[in-house]
Amino acid sequence: MPKRLETVVLHDSSTPVFGDIEKGGSVIVTTFDTVLNQIRANSLFPLTFGLACCAIEMMSTAGSRFDISRFGMEAFRASPRQADLMIIAGRLSKKMAPVLRQIYDQMPEPKFVISMGACASSGGVYNNYAIVQGADQVVPVDVYVPGCPPSPDALLYGILKLQDKIKKGHSPKHFKDLRVIETTPRVIEKVEF
């Protein structure tokens, strides 16, 4: 009796799958981009970019209890040339901002940024002259993880959200799609009640 094959339907529901899905088909047809995005999502190399206390939780995430390597991310790279994911862990001071931007520019495309913790995402309690009020003023951020600091499972949730985003094909496909810094101020809708 032949071994029954599980059909793997990749994220894209419009992807044609030959063979009966219920019975378990044996041929999968998909786009090259879909496969590439799956590979990208499951082999992110984070950059060691701990700026403050959030870095302790980031290190804990790499430890054996929470084990980031289950998602193919255990290789924390010290060189931006070898990393695709920047986890901004900690408050970003204005003195550090140009350094962060330079390191971000040195990372090869496609690159992703997780802003970890309240301070990196928005400034947190440090609403003062020294701290950048949100790392998205310096680099484009893909996923914000709130918390002070976020527990390792909260960071893992953010990482899973980022993997979802990459699997859905949000990586830049054309030079025009590459993210640039927002130049226009955001318009936040007035809440009516």
Binding site: S64, R65, F66, D67, R70, A118, S121, S122, G123, G124, V125, N127, G134, D136, D142, V143, Y144, V145, P146, G147, C148, P150, S151, D153, A154, L156, Y157, G158, L160, K161, K165, R186, I188, V191, F193
Partner: protein
């Protein structure tokens, strides 16, 4: 003989550590499938609670906003009327917003609240893609109505 002393014996000793470790309990929590139990005093996502009758506990006093070190809570109060009653007292919060990305989950709002309306529970899955999505409004924070 030196080969045995310098190469074979250390290798066997090294694998001995591996063999002993195999008998240990596995420490990894397989996070998305299995969640670790949070500690009883864990402070994560805020919830605005209700009384058993379904009335809101929040009276719109803004003490939580005053206690917040990150200034991330905004409360706007309004008067209750007999026709539209939201909370047992005179006033209720018509608008209650928390900027979840600026919040540091210190729990001072919970300590300051005179009626125990705002509590920090243990839902930690808050990460999101857009900064605008982190403004949690009253509708998102309020507990669902208790079953009658």
């Amino acid at each position: 003989m030196e080969v045995v002393r310098d190469v074979v014996k250390p290798i066997i000793a090294g694998f001995g550590i591996t063999r002993r470790r195999l008998a240990h309990k596995k420490v990894t929590i397989m996070y998305p499938e299995e969640k670790r139990q949070q500690y009883p005093r864990t402070r994560w996502r805020h919830v605005l609670t209700r009384y058993e009758s379904g009335l809101e506990r929040c009276i719109g006093c803004s003490l939580c906003a005053g206690a917040c070190p990150a200034r991330c809570i905004y409360v706007q109060a309004s008067e209750n009327t007999d026709a539209e009653r939201y909370s047992p007292g005179e006033r209720y919060a018509v608008r209650y917003e928390i900027n979840m990305i600026r919040c540091i989950f210190c729990g001072y709002c919970q300590e300051a609240c005179p009626t125990g309306a705002i509590v920090l529970r243990n839902d930690f899955e808050l990460a999101n893609y857009r900064r605008e999505d982190f403004i949690f409004t009253k509708e998102m924070l309020l507990e669902p109505m208790p079953l009658q």
